[in-house]
């Protein structure tokens, strides 16, 4: 009985998740869509949002939820601030990554670690909505009446040790990323939903200051 319940949970999560992304069909004119997204990225100076992150693990019936705030500024500046269940801040400023883990601070060169380099690429590419143009990924484009779905598979096997598949859901209303889903090899996945987005509002440079 437990096993049946486990499989029910395992398979119902993607079904529930896909409910709002149903009726997806292949995008007919991919070059036109790419051009539209790239043009939008050019016009986007910054994005401020709240986020809700869910970690779905096959061993847990429950979802692990984190929340916080997200800030992106052109070209490569990101401030990702986890507030719940604990404080954790990631600042990406160009090639520098700074982490403040409840007072413990550490700065890295993004190029010093392949892992940080890839995380940097995914986060900035997601914020810009231009991860699809990265040659390190195989991409597919789908859409329904509300969203574009961009499906990305890393070409590199080592990168697939971290993330096997990525789904970017882009809101057709403002062409910003609405949801990001990162799926691991065993099917466990992380879902990040961006809420209350504000585009091209005032952003202070010191929000990305690395001490």
């Amino acid at each position: 009985m437990k096993r049946i319940f486990f499989f029910y949970i395992l398979f119902s999560i993607p079904i529930l998740l896909s409910a709002q992304f149903n009726n997806m069909k292949a995008v007919a004119d991919i070059p036109a869509l790419k051009s539209k997204l790239e043009q939008n990225a050019l016009n986007t100076e910054n994005i401020r949002a709240e986020f809700k992150q869910e970690k779905h693990l096959s061993i847990l019936e429950e979802v692990i939820t984190s929340t916080g705030t997200f800030l992106f500024k052109k070209e490569n500046k990101v401030r990702w601030n986890y507030i719940q269940p604990f404080n954790y801040l990631i600042i990406i400023n160009g090639d520098k990554i700074h982490i403040n883990d409840e007072g413990k601070q550490k700065s890295y060169d993004a190029n010093s670690s392949k892992m940080f380099g890839q995380i940097n690429k995914i986060v900035v590419g997601t914020a810009k909505g231009t991860l699809f143009s990265d040659p390190d990924y195989i991409t597919q484009f789908k859409e329904n009446s509300n969203y574009y779905e961009i499906y990305l598979v890393p070409k590199n096997n080592k990168l697939r040790d971290y993330v096997n598949e990525i789904y970017l859901y882009i809101d057709k209303k403002d062409l910003t990323v609405y949801k990001l889903k990162m799926v691991e090899k065993n099917g466990d996945f992380t879902l990040v939903e961006f809420l209350n987005k504000k585009v091209n509002q005032a952003v202070q440079e010191n929000e990305f200051r690395i001490p």
Partner: protein, 188 residues
């Protein structure tokens, strides 16, 4: 029932309770009663590498506990199956595929979860050839030390609340540049 009989009954019951508490002075626990999982915030350092995230420990059956750590961003760090006889790395980031790093991880997890993990004294499976000993350091602080012979190899300081629930763990490895701490995450 007479009052004196009642008083004798209460006295005997109280003495029995005190005796059983004395017999089991280390009623410390990681899993809450009726719960089969615990979430811990992780913050540590191996050589120059910082590691942090969330560790999920789940009792899958009487024979197996799974330890899954993820980074704050959700990316999985490792997934380990722990049984009484051995530990198996099911999945991990490439760094944990190094036997040296993997062994440190297993010794670290053994400090948290070694079967039976709250006995006063226990012996490891043959994996690490260690004996473990619990001792009380001060009120609400216990130490679980891993010994080979008389030498302490690594130890865990376990901070508990007034009910015996572990709320914080601080691990120290004497000969390895590795320090790590865990804090219980409540109500996620």
């Amino acid at each position: 029932m007479k009052l004196s009989t009642k008083l004798i009954f209460v006295l005997v019951y109280t003495l029995q309770s005190l005796y059983s508490l004395a017999q089991d002075p280390m009623n410390i626990r990681l899993f809450e009663e009726g719960e089969n999982k615990v979430l811990l915030k992780v913050s540590g350092k191996l050589l120059d590498h910082n590691l942090s995230g969330i560790l999920i420990l789940k009792q899958m059956s009487t024979q197996e506990i799974r330890a899954v750590m993820t980074m704050e961003t959700g990316i999985k760090v490792y997934d380990v199956s722990i049984s009484q006889k051995k530990m198996r790395l099911l999945e991990s980031m490439p760094a944990y595929k190094s036997p040296w790093v993997k062994n440190i991880l297993f010794k670290d997890l053994a400090l948290i979860l070694h079967y039976p993990f709250t006995n006063t004294q226990s012996k490891d499976s043959k994996e690490f050839k260690r004996n473990y000993e619990y001792s009380k350091q001060e009120e609400f602080v216990y130490r679980k030390a891993a010994y080979r012979g008389n030498k302490i190899l690594e130890y865990s300081l376990k901070y508990i609340d007034s009910t015996g629930k572990i709320i914080h763990l601080k691990h120290n490895f004497n000969n390895i540049p590795y320090q790590i701490e865990y804090w219980r995450i409540e109500n996620n």
